[in-house]
């Protein structure tokens, strides 16, 4: 059980795929000016990561090393197509707004990264958990970024007006450049906290 908790903590905080490993940035920036789209997108990514990790891990002894990459890509695209079909059927407006970014989940480096780094060497169940938590780590960052962009850019949260109408909206928050600034600020805060934690651990160890 402890191993599962360790993976959870690693993937969400210590080795967060977006903030520490800088993977999957493309979609992080592109879809985050609207919370609802972000939420649906991240659920899709989490499912694809978890399921493809599970599948790749189950097949890991059957795949020859040489065709490993292309097999992984095919497994991932299979799940992405399923996500795409489901989105189109149940939430067509979100599917339209996300446009090519649903298809681009295939090239989201987080999924390939987890498949390569974890699923290749572990059993299916724990790989599923690893993929799932990596997806949650991704979701955590995206939802925070989207929250601020939507709040400041439109004055809404999930499309519901929160700030008074006298609040002058920051149009720049909706535009592409702000995505970089918001993510950089978030990264700044998180890295700052992590560095402080590290220093505390090191100095605490010295005292003993």
């Amino acid at each position: 059980m402890t191993e599962y908790r360790k993976i959870l903590k690693n993937n969400i905080w210590l080795e967060n795929p977006v903030i520490v490993q800088i993977l999957g940035i493309c979609s992080t920036l592109a879809v985050t000016n609207n919370l609802r789209n972000t939420f649906i997108m991240t659920i899709g990514v989490t499912l694809v990561t978890a399921l493809s990790n599970f599948t790749i891990s189950a097949m890991r002894n059957l795949i020859p090393r040489k065709v490993r990459m292309i097999t992984q890509v095919l497994v991932i695209s299979f799940y992405v197509i399923m996500v795409d079909i489901v989105l189109r059927a149940y939430v067509p407006d979100v599917s339209k707004a996300l446009g090519p970014y649903v298809g681009l989940i295939i090239t989201n480096c987080i999924i390939m990264g987890r498949a390569e780094a974890f699923a290749q060497a572990n059993t299916p169940i724990i790989s599923f958990w690893d993929g799932f938590t990596a997806g949650l780590g991704y979701m955590f960052v995206l939802v925070v970024v989207a929250f601020f962009r939507e709040l400041l850019g439109f004055g809404t949260i999930f499309g519901i007006q929160v700030l008074p109408s006298t609040f002058s909206k920051w149009t720049s928050m909706v535009m592409p450049p702000s995505a970089f600034f918001v993510l950089a600020t978030f990264l700044w805060i998180v890295r700052g906290m992590q560095i402080r934690e590290e220093i505390k651990q090191v100095s605490g160890g010295e005292k003993k």
Binding site: C26, A30, G103, T107, S178, A184
Partner: protein, 198 residues
Amino acid sequence: MMYPDINPFVLFFASIFTSNILLTNFLGMCSFISISKDIKSSNGLGIAVTLVTTITTALNWLLEKYVIIPLELGYLRYIIYIIVIAAVVQVLEMVIDRVSPNLYMVLGIFLPLITVNCAILGVALFMQLRNYSFIQSVFFGLGSGIGWWLAIVLLAAIRKKTENAPVPAPLKGVGITLITIGIMAMAFIGFAGMINVR
């Protein structure tokens, strides 16, 4: 089917400047951030991306028109696109190795990376969504590749300067790079009034 009425040359310049694939659509960010530490490799990767994007966009357009639509294989689109990209990368690698070992030395290590570069799949998907004609697609692919190339070389040059700058510790590396890209993106938005294509 109706194609959008845009002059291919306008599309070409628009995809370099006003709707730069990297700075407005955020495609190909992973390799953009990790490779831009050094101008030489940025340049190599830029050339490789431009080549592959142009070729795959053209091929995917042909496949879309003559295979996917007539046979109603829309649900296999992503798989077909990604296989085409992987195959083109593989063939290109072999051809370059044969024809010009020098160029292979420069591009060799970058080519496999390109298969999972979102810019290339992204350009193909945009081309399909916006329903471009063949000529438009080729110019769009070429322009997007050049736009990507331009952006990565610019960023590499700026990063060289920020390397020695006193940056707060938590912002070092990726943080300051993201802010730099943000400022670059703002600068590119300045071009927006020049050409208007959507």
